[in-house]
């Protein structure tokens, strides 16, 4: 097989391509010698082709997929519900989806799967959906990968959406990964920015990679639908407008598509009251500085007063002071709350990877050189065992609790 990218004789060894390559895949042994492309590092992004003023880089054109892109219409949002309650991420998707639909001149549609959820369709319309595709079946009462994916695949093939958004939640990521493959769609994970290219009308999907150290913008120019999962708490929720009108389409689905090989035997809810930290607007997180499991009680007290979820560093989780589902960071969860209060957490890179996009970061640490202060909006240098109780008391007073 011939190389998909080559530097041709037109090259004048100027080295512009070396500078342009975002992946460091092009090197020049010395100035004024021929640059070499390392195909193991090259992602064929085309930055060098654009940068070359001499038209000297040849890249294989991707053959067109042969599909009629124009036949794909509308922006879809997967409506995630747990026990019939629409999750807030859905409202965030509707808020963002509305903007995308308007700039494409298309409809915004929600897809709702569940059992006895018909009444919820109005909620989606009030939040901006022009149309709701509803599949209401006992088999869909709770999320199961295979049946949910089968239904979505069926609906996508039938109605051909242009854009398909889903929350980057546990369910969302498991689900749409199974949908994108059979419909031959591009799928971009955990997006934090979405926009429509004014010229090509392609969806520009921006997302963090390498734990948030870099950002990448991704397109799927030749395939439809353009699918993305979207990070919690980044997009603004759509406002409720009960006067809005919309259409509900009841979809019928063949029974065989609702069969699952992997079956849920039971579900055990977690005891902690405010568990889903990915959805929390405020998080109070504790680290090794908390010293014991009992001391996490102090964090929970503060969390109750200010309406926060409780997070933790890996050190705290590994010491069994709190369950793994609360761990924030590279090997835990990525969160993006309005306020993140880090107590007794040093702020190692793996922890920052999970929380550095929070709007406001507050750090409480006795070590003035702790790296967490480099990202903190407000930092207090001091002993958490003195500061935490004061903080809780002061908030109680100020918030009138």
């Amino acid at each position: 097989m011939s190389d998909p990218i080559k530097i041709t004789e037109k090259c004048v060894f100027c080295g512009m391509c070396v500078k342009a390559c975002p992946f460091g895949a092009i090197t020049q042994a010395q100035k004024k010698t021929a640059p070499v492309i390392d195909l193991q590092k090259c992602t064929l992004c085309g930055s060098c082709v654009v940068a070359c003023k001499f038209d000297a880089i040849w890249m294989k054109e991707k053959s067109s997929s042969g599909i009629d892109l124009a036949s794909f219409k509308d922006v879809w949002v997967f409506a995630e519900q747990h026990e019939g309650v629409i999750q807030s991420i859905t409202f965030e998707l509707l808020g963002e989806g509305r903007k995308l639909a308007d700039s494409l001149g298309m409809k915004l549609c929600a897809v709702l799967l569940g059992n006895n959820v018909q009444a919820r369709a109005d909620e989606l319309i009030a939040r901006g959906a022009d149309k709701v595709y509803l599949v209401d079946r006992p088999e869909l009462a709770y999320f199961q990968d295979e049946s949910y994916a089968n239904v979505l695949i069926e609906l996508v093939k039938k109605h051909k959406p242009n854009v398909f958004l889903c929350g980057a939640s546990t369910i969302g990521r498991s689900l749409v990964s199974r949908v994108a493959v059979p419909v031959n769609a591009g799928l971009t994970a955990d997006c934090t920015g979405l926009a429509i290219d004014p010229v090509t009308k392609n969806l520009l999907q921006t997302r963090p990679a390498f734990g948030g150290n870099i950002m990448a913008t991704i397109e799927a120019p030749n395939s439809r639908p353009q699918m993305s999962t979207v990070r919690h708490k980044v997009m603004k929720e759509a406002e409720v407008n009960p006067a809005r009108k919309g259409e509900v389409c009841l979809e019928t689905i063949a029974d065989v598509l609702l069969q699952c090989r992997a079956k849920r035997l039971k579900f055990i809810p977690e005891v902690e009251t405010t568990t889903n930290i990915a959805e929390a607007n405020i998080i109070v997180a504790g680290g090794r500085g908390m010293q014991t499991a009992e001391h996490f009680g102090m964090l929970r007290e503060l969390a109750d007063v200010i309406g926060a979820g409780v997070g933790a560093s890996r050190a705290a989780v590994d010491s069994n002071w709190i369950a793994y589902s609360h761990q924030v960071g590279q090997t835990g969860k990525t969160v993006c709350p309005k306020i993140y209060i880090a107590v007794g957490i040093s702020g190692q890179i793996q922890h920052l990877a999970g929380m550095q996009s929070s709007d406001i970061i507050v750090a409480i640490n006795k070590d003035p050189d702790a790296p967490i202060f480099k990202v903190a909006t407000y930092g207090i240098v001091g002993d958490l065992f003195t500061i935490l109780p004061l903080l809780t008391r002061e908030f109680k007073k100020v918030l009138g609790k």
């Binding site: 992004c45 309005k338 202060f373 240098v381």
Partner: protein, 264 residues
Amino acid sequence: MRYVVCIKQVPETTDVKINPETNTLMRDGVVSIINPFDMYAIEEGLRLKAKTGGTVTVLSMGPPQADAALREAIAMGADDGILLSDRAFAGSDTWATSYTIAMAIRKIGNFDLILCGKQASDGDTAQVGPGIAVHLDLPQITYVRKIESIDDKTIVAERLMENGYEVIQSPLPCVLTVVKEINEPRLPSLKGKMAAKKAVIPCWKAVDLQCDPKCIGMEGSPTKVVKIFTPPARQGGEVMKGEPSEIVPQLVAKLKDAILGASH
């Protein structure tokens, strides 16, 4: 029982930086490691093997250097490793990656369980595991935090959800993606290290897998990275020092509005 563990070689996050002058990724001298979540997948494969007998095969798609990751897994106790490496795979996104890995697993043949990490630390997509499952038309259990039981036909596992956990039963073969809670990965043993040194690791190319050229590399990847950039650096803000009884009320005053705004 035959266990197949999919592992990816990734740069240690801490080392990934962008050259401020050229705005490009600096990967020179970057230490490569096995994706942290995949360490748990390897460990679980080894534990299952100890329970049921059988073999653990590790599989990695990547540049020739990914050989080192496979050897590290063998040093931990895996029986053999297979490298998928071919220039034709360059430019693969998660669609093409999961296709290629699925084709390799087909070639391996009589497998019972495929283990993946929850996600890779470079791309953080969590898409490849389920992608492999659909390409092979297999059921999946994602975010597994515990395997309750396994026999030659069935597996029962706990899946971590955002608001609790589920117990799921699936027929084998099946694809699992695992989270950190599942176990504590072991260190390589001396015997393992010897085995790793001696191991012969085959390198499979697109032709060996009978891949459809339209489904691999750039051709098989619907998505395309069009730009990378450094996020605006987060500035350290105000550090408050002094008597706690004085600074705490100051902090609360600064946060009050944001807290009231956020609790709606």
